[in-house]
């Protein structure tokens, strides 16, 4: 069990040794985003920007325009809340900035709605050159951090506060824009991202189901070929995410299936209202994002 924010912290601190162009910026959350490890190891390449995310993002763009590979870190809610800076200074400038947004979704728990990244993917998905990632476990998070360091262009990496079970070992090889089919089943294909990958896996285990399960860890670009194949071979496609159903993975898959002219029904599991305080477990249950909730929703869709 590991939180993908921890995986990021470990990996970026390691990559800092190999690539002197990597710099990290944080806005007074380095202990939470886990950029603090890099800060300790490479103080001259770490910039504490204070509680001023707009300036942090613009500064990262300037560093990137000068050949650096900046990781700008905050909670997903706060970093994507500075949308105009991302839109102009990062995206339009084609600046090679890596935006790290931790504390994705309702699963952050007690802090409540104001700290939950719930519309972050929807916001950034509209930007033409933005790549978006959400790893589902430690190994994948490390590989995605390595990938974005080499892949030129703006990127948003959505990470979780909560720990998630292990899915992969070192034999796994993350492929940009290609979703990993974790289980090839039948009738229903569950396309999930982040925490919900684990909920969907648990549905098959706990309820003895044979649903196909897909880990959508690249949220942009999406895997259109796989969506086409899945929609041809299943009776129902279900997306699942700890994010608003508007703008996120559910929207992305809907748009794709509509453009494909697919006749296969699609249902979206996700958040549809404001988040609130509670334990992560209680919140996942409340928003029907745990295995029980996902299972109940699928049963309803199948009726």
């Amino acid at each position: 069990m590991k939180a993908t924010r921890d995986s990021f912290g470990e990996e970026v601190a390691q990559l800092g040794e190999l690539n002197s162009n990597i710099v990290v910026l944080d806005a007074d959350l380095s202990k939470s985003t886990k950029s603090a490890g890099f800060a300790k190891k490479f103080p001259e390449r770490f910039f504490e920007m204070g509680i001023a995310e707009a300036n942090m993002i613009g500064t990262a763009a300037g560093l990137a325009l000068s050949g650096k590979i900046p990781f700008a870190c905050s909670f997903g809610a706060f970093i994507t809340g500075r949308y105009d800076q991302i839109r102009m200074s990062v995206s339009y400038n084609r600046a090679n900035v890596k935006l790290i947004g931790t504390h994705a979704g309702v699963a952050i728990g007690e802090d409540g709605h104001s700290q939950m990244g719930l519309e972050d993917v929807g916001l950034l998905r509209a930007l033409p050159n933005m790549s978006i990632f959400q790893p589902a476990d430690h190994e994948e998070a490390k590989q995605i951090i390595r990938f974005v360091t080499k892949h030129h262009g703006p990127a948003y990496i959505r990470l979780t506060r909560q720990k998630m079970p292990q899915l992969y070992d070192e034999n796994y090889s993350y492929q940009y824009g290609q979703w990993d089919v974790l289980h090839e089943g039948k009738d229903v294909a569950l396309i999930a991202t982040g925490e919900l990958v684990h909920s969907c896996m648990a549905v098959n285990d706990l309820y003895k189901k044979d649903y196909s399960i897909i880990n959508a860890s690249t949220l942009k670009p999406i895997d259109t070929k796989l969506i086409e194949r899945l929609s041809e071979h299943h009776k129902l496609i279900v997306t699942a995410e700890d994010h608003y159903v508007i703008g996120g993975l559910g929207s992305a898959v809907s748009e794709c299936m509509a453009e494909l002219g697919s006749k296969t029904p699609l249902r979206r599991i996700g958040v549809r209202e404001f988040g609130e305080s509670g334990t992560p477990g209680n919140l996942l249950k409340h928003f029907q994002l745990d295995a029980e909730g996902v299972h109940a929703q699928i049963q309803q869709f199948l009726r």
Binding site: G50, N55, G62, L65, Q85, S89
Partner: protein, 286 residues
């Protein structure tokens, strides 16, 4: 091979200081005429704030910056980030003057497919440093560039031109706090203090005063200069204080150089018609 180019070494424009003054006058008129011609051809644009920063840009390119028009991305160049992106016709005019691109490109301003976008776009025109135009963002970008120069131990200096209306943006004050923290003595901000913005006089829209005290209080080295006096600009713009960024308040006149545009808010963002252009060009002796 890129080399540190200084205008003094390769332009014949200024053998003596007297001649320099005369030639500056001629160049400023030419640049102003080009600004108005291109905005007229485009049918839209921002003459007021472009005309007010002509001498600032002229002096930067004429006697302060190190640059190489043949290699606009030369790593050791000095940088100009035009944070008040709407004044980009002035920047295009000076870049054309230094042969960054052919002069006839100027008339393509704001036309479909042109590298000369309505606001600067570095992806289409590498001669500019950054895309700007959503106000308040260029200073943070300039700060990032200045940090990178420090990390790479380059001598390059970074100049960022901001507008007075622009510094009403909160992000400017975030950067005002952070640049002194990082001791960015290679960063100079030039305020084109022309006192005008779209909705009226800047002191009425949202008062900025006391501007010098504010930036001093934020730990900047603050200087004031007549933003239309090239000799004064030549003295002030290169100023550096170890360990501190510099903020230069350049007192300017919106629409400078054209009698019927000077100080008239209405000329913030409209193109001259045929008659107005002819009148302006006549005044400028073009």
């Amino acid at each position: 091979m890129p080399h540190r180019l200084c205008i003094k070494n390769f332009m014949t424009r200024q053998p003596t200081s007297q001649k320099l003054e005369e030639n500056n006058e001629a160049l400023s008129r030419k640049l102003r005429a080009n600004i108005l011609k291109m905005i007229h051809a485009a049918g839209s644009g921002h003459p007021g704030g472009s005309l007010s920063c002509v001498e600032i840009l002229m002096t930067l390119f004429g006697s302060v910056l190190h640059f190489d028009p043949k290699n606009p991305r030369w790593v050791d160049r000095d940088r100009v980030v035009l944070s008040k992106g709407h004044a980009v016709p002035a920047l295009y005019a000076i870049l054309a003057e230094y042969d960054y691109f052919p002069g006839d490109w100027l008339m393509s301003l704001r036309k479909l497919g042109s590298p000369l976008q309505g606001h600067p776009d570095v992806a289409r025109l590498p001669a500019v440093e950054a895309a700007t135009g959503s106000l308040g963002q260029g200073l943070s970008i300039a700060q990032g560039i200045a940090m990178a120069c420090k990390l790479d131990k380059r001598d390059s200096r970074v100049f960022c031109i901001v507008g007075d209306g622009e510094i009403q943006e909160g992000q400017i004050w975030e950067a005002a706090m952070s640049a002194p923290k990082f001791k960015l003595d290679n960063l100079t901000v030039i305020l084109d203090y022309n006192h005008g913005q779209i909705d009226g006089r800047s002191d009425e829209v949202m008062n900025l005063e006391p501007i010098v005290d504010k930036w001093k209080a934020f730990n900047w080295n603050v200087l004031e200069v007549d933003g239309h006096d090239c000799e004064a600009l030549q003295r002030v713009l290169p100023t550096q204080v170890p360990g501190k960024p510099t903020f230069i308040v350049a007192h300017t006149i919106k629409g400078k150089g054209v009698s019927f545009m000077e100080g008239v808010i209405d000329w913030h963002g409209k193109a001259p018609n045929d008659e107005e252009l002819a009148k302006a060009l006549k005044e400028l002796g073009q």
